[in-house]
């Protein structure tokens, strides 16, 4: 009953990490070319944006909410970043404008969820469609072309630009993890997700917390979208398609309970790594790459099933 220490409390994180280590071990033996620095750096850059969104999603799920509109928000933010740059804004302002646009979309979600008390899955399902269709209507699916020279890789060139993306993602991740553990505001996320009424009795304001989490989710999506957009010479208006599922899957595989109150960013990091390595691993191991999605699905089911079994045992 008592005496369960650090190890068993973070059993999920450890077991997913173990699975990931096994996968890396198999690759090291059978496909050592996977570990070529250039390739790894490219993979890290590609997954940096997923990691950033997954961090935000972890907060949302820990607070017992969900946000499935992040893919649409991501697409909208990418186009906004491109258009702002094209309009001649300096890059720092482009970055700030993109993050603000995301925060504004998040505020829409947050206001509907916390002031009207609507279920977040319905609210964000609706805003997912609204954000996406509004973008389609305004832009008619056009790519943003003719971007200024300092847009791609912030004008730093590919290699330095890639390192910038990786370091920004890493710094963001560490800062988020620290705040979640060592700031009263971070602990409030867990408290509200664990029992909103108990949080109210302990003097917190659960509705405000939920609202701010959605705003933060939007801002985080804006940041991720910017880091994605600058990797290319043009901005794809569908850059965020399917992103919400990748983020939710990474959080869940990393041990975040969909019922709220439980989850760590370390787990989410491992979740992003494991799910993100499956596809390349199949290619390197000469397996059929179309199995990627099926294997990812299997991993998610295994994760949720172990939750259910563990939950029944308590």
């Amino acid at each position: 009953m008592s005496g369960l220490g650090f190890g068993s409390r973070h059993l999920r994180e450890w077991s997913v990490a173990l699975a990931y280590a096994v996968l890396l071990g198999v690759l090291a033996v059978l496909a050592p070319q996977f570990f070529k620095p250039d390739y790894l750096r490219g993979l890290l850059v590609a997954k940096s944006t997923v990691l950033i969104v997954a961090v935000g999603m972890t907060l949302v799920i820990v607070a017992r909410q969900i946000d499935i509109s992040v893919g649409s928000q991501f697409s909208v933010c990418g186009v906004i970043a491109g258009l702002l740059a094209k309009a001649g804004w300096p890059m720092p302002l482009v970055a700030a404008g993109t993050v603000a646009a995301g925060a504004a979309m998040g505020a829409c979600n947050g206001a509907l969820v916390s002031t009207l008390g609507l279920p977040s899955i319905v609210v964000t399902l609706a805003t997912m469609a609204i954000f996406r269709e509004t973008l389609r209507w305004l832009r008619e699916g056009e790519f943003v072309l003719g971007l200024p020279g300092d847009f791609q890789w912030f004008g730093l060139g590919q290699q330095a630009g890639q390192w910038t993306v990786i370091l920004v993602a890493a710094a963001f991740f560490l800062a988020a993890a620290w705040c979640l553990r060592f700031l009263a505001g971070g602990r409030a996320v867990y408290a509200v997700g664990s029992d909103a009424e108990a949080a109210r009795l302990a003097g917190m304001r659960p509705r405000l917390v939920v609202f701010l989490i959605f705003v933060g989710m939007g801002a985080i999506t804006g940041l991720a979208s910017l880091l994605n957009a600058i990797q290319f010479g043009v901005v794809d208006p569908n850059s965020g398609a399917g992103l919400e599922l990748q983020a939710i899957a990474a959080a869940v595989v990393g041990g975040t309970a969909i019922s709220g109150g439980r989850g760590t960013l370390a787990g989410t990091l491992i979740g992003v790594a494991l799910l993100g390595t499956i596809g390349p691993a199949l290619v390197f191991l000469n397996a059929e790459p179309q199995w990627e999605k099926a294997i990812q699905g299997l991993i998610i089911l295994t994760a949720v099933a172990t939750d259910a079994i563990e939950g029944r045992r308590r």
Binding site: M1, S2, S194, A198, G261
Partner: protein, 518 residues
């Protein structure tokens, strides 16, 4: 000397029902003031007016002689008022350390969390009340008594000036109770005023200085603890006339219908439930809230698995593993929380009434709406449900009529045994009398009825025999002729029929802490 807390002529009513009528109460610094009364006597409402969760209709609340213009939870916390509720308000997914800290730390989102300080504080508070709980454990892994201890540790750490304890010992072991009493005495010596609510009357002389009894929302009296004995306390709690008239009809009792032998379930906190009911008989199931009455009903209806014990219907042992099994055997259960489990508010009267018998009104999976309407109309007439039509949504009917629809659903299954959980809770007097009349009719037709009720006059008025539960066990069965409020209450409080025999205090087994999360 001004009182630490003084309530004057507090009244509160909910939709015409008086929860409190002109109750006055005061508490001095360094005093333990016990509050006793039956279920529904108004103790919880009185507590809530002090913590600011409820705003009284009339009356004044003074703290240190200063009247409170408005009171709300934040204000009362600021004044140093803390309450330990019967149901712990804890965060199941967070550690014990954090649960204690979150109730005590100041506000501010950017405040840095000092984990080391949190841990040593939690350890010190747990040690003070003698609780052996690892502060790193997540609260959802604790048993109910352990959660209660965490709640107590948190309240004590708050340095409250007025501490309210609602049944703090309900699930604690002898040793844990001793520790709690020691802490209470220490707090009293420090000048804290404590309001102590307990059904365990024998423990009051150990801690309380004064005792106040409430009955039906009115003040019975306040006395120094040394001047009243247990018999006097029980008399104060129940000494009312049975006001309502219960149309109990004498019914020829038939053969034994349902026999329950040594039913046990750790998960539901049931340790030993045995009783039997005959055809045409109404068996009252009495006991305090938390004694396990609803849980026993859940076991009988297959809503929770039993660990041991035997259930016989008409002499044959039956194995009920699900509500579907129960219905097939002819057992029906009208649950306590009508709006959540008894009826589906959005659905029509006809849909609700026929929900349990869909198979009989359908052929090859197709519903026969003609038969549905006929069946529903029949029960609407028989039970006197007042509804504009059978297509009206149940949610728009009054509470009494909703209850009749819930009853109709189960009568349509033609049951042999009907279990009614608080059948008249929260419905008006007229509808109540009608439900009682219906129960009499059903018994006269040979149904065996088990009625769970927290209302002693209802138990005494309607039952042929009364089984009394305490801490998960049936501790006695009393015949109608021999039953009095005092005898039932004495059993429900855990006293043996002979008052001087000391019964061993049982620690209710099993956590059943929270319903499985979401």
């Amino acid at each position: 000397m001004t009182a630490l807390l003084k309530l004057t002529h507090i009244s509160k009513s909910y939709q015409g029902l008086h929860a409190l009528r002109g109750v006055s109460f005061d508490l001095a610094a360094g005093e333990v003031h016990a509050l006793v009364g039956e279920n529904g006597a108004g103790k919880s409402t009185l507590i809530k007016t002090i913590t600011g969760a409820v705003v009284p209709d009339e009356g004044t609340i003074e703290v240190d002689g200063v009247p409170l213009a408005v009171n709300d939870p934040a204000k009362s916390r600021a004044l140093g008022i803390r309450a330990i509720y019967q149901q712990p308000a804890l965060f199941p997914d967070l550690s014990v350390t954090e649960n204690i800290a979150l109730g005590l730390e100041p506000e501010g989102a950017w405040r840095r969390v000092r984990w080391g300080r949190r841990r040593s504080q939690a350890r010190a508070l747990l040690a003070r009340i003698g609780a052996r709980i690892d502060p790193e454990t997540e609260v959802r892994r604790l048993t109910m008594p352990e959660q209660q201890l965490v709640e107590i540790a948190r309240a004590i750490g708050a340095d409250a000036r007025i501490l309210i304890m609602d049944e703090p010992t309900a699930s604690l072991s002898e040793q844990e109770v001793e520790n709690l009493f020691r802490v209470i005495r220490e707090l009293r010596a420090d000048g804290v005023g404590i309001i102590y609510i307990s059904h365990r009357l024998e423990e009051l002389p150990q801690v309380a200085d004064r005792v106040t009894a409430l009955r039906d929302g009115t003040l019975v009296g306040t006395h120094p603890m040394s001047r009243v004995d247990r018999a006097e306390l029980i008399r104060m709690m129940v000494g009312r006339e049975i006001s309502a008239v219960f149309p109990k009809r004498p019914v020829e009792r038939g053969a034994t219908r349902l026999e329950v032998r040594a039913l046990r379930s750790r998960a539901e906190g049931i340790s030993d439930v045995s009783f039997d009911v005959r055809a045409g008989e109404i068996l009252g199931l009495a006991g305090l809230i938390g004694a396990g009455r609803t849980e026993a009903a859940r076991l009988l209806f297959g809503l929770a698995p039993k660990d041991a014990g035997e259930v016989r219907l008409d002499g044959r042992p039956i194995d009920v593993r699900s509500p579907a099994d129960a219905v097939a055997h002819g057992i029906a259960y009208v649950p306590e929380d009508r709006r959540r489990h008894g009826v589906i508010l959005e659905m029509s009267v006809a849909d609700n009434a026929t929900l349990a018998v869909l198979r009989t009104i359908s052929s090859w999976g197709w519903l026969d709406f003609g038969r549905e309407a006929a069946l529903a109309s029949e029960y609407v007439d028989r039970l006197g449900v007042k509804t504009p039509s059978i297509t009206t949504a149940v949610g728009s009917l009054s509470g009494g009529n909703q209850q009749k629809v819930a009853l109709a659903r189960w009568l349509a299954t033609a049951p042999k045994v009907l279990i009614l959980d608080e059948p008249t809770q929260g419905i008006d007097v007229g509808a109540k009398a009608e439900i009682h009349r219906l129960m009499g009719d059903l018994a006269a037709r040979g149904l065996a009825i088990v009625m769970i009720s927290s209302e002693l006059p209802e138990i005494l008025g309607m039952s042929d025999r009364i089984a009394v539960m305490h801490a998960g066990s049936v501790v006695g069965v009393i015949d109608r002729a021999a039953a009095t409020q005092e005898s039932i209450l004495a059993l429900a409080l855990g006293h043996a029929p002979h008052a001087d025999q000391r019964t061993e205090r049982r620690r209710p087994p099993g956590p059943a802490a929270r319903e499985a999360a979401s």
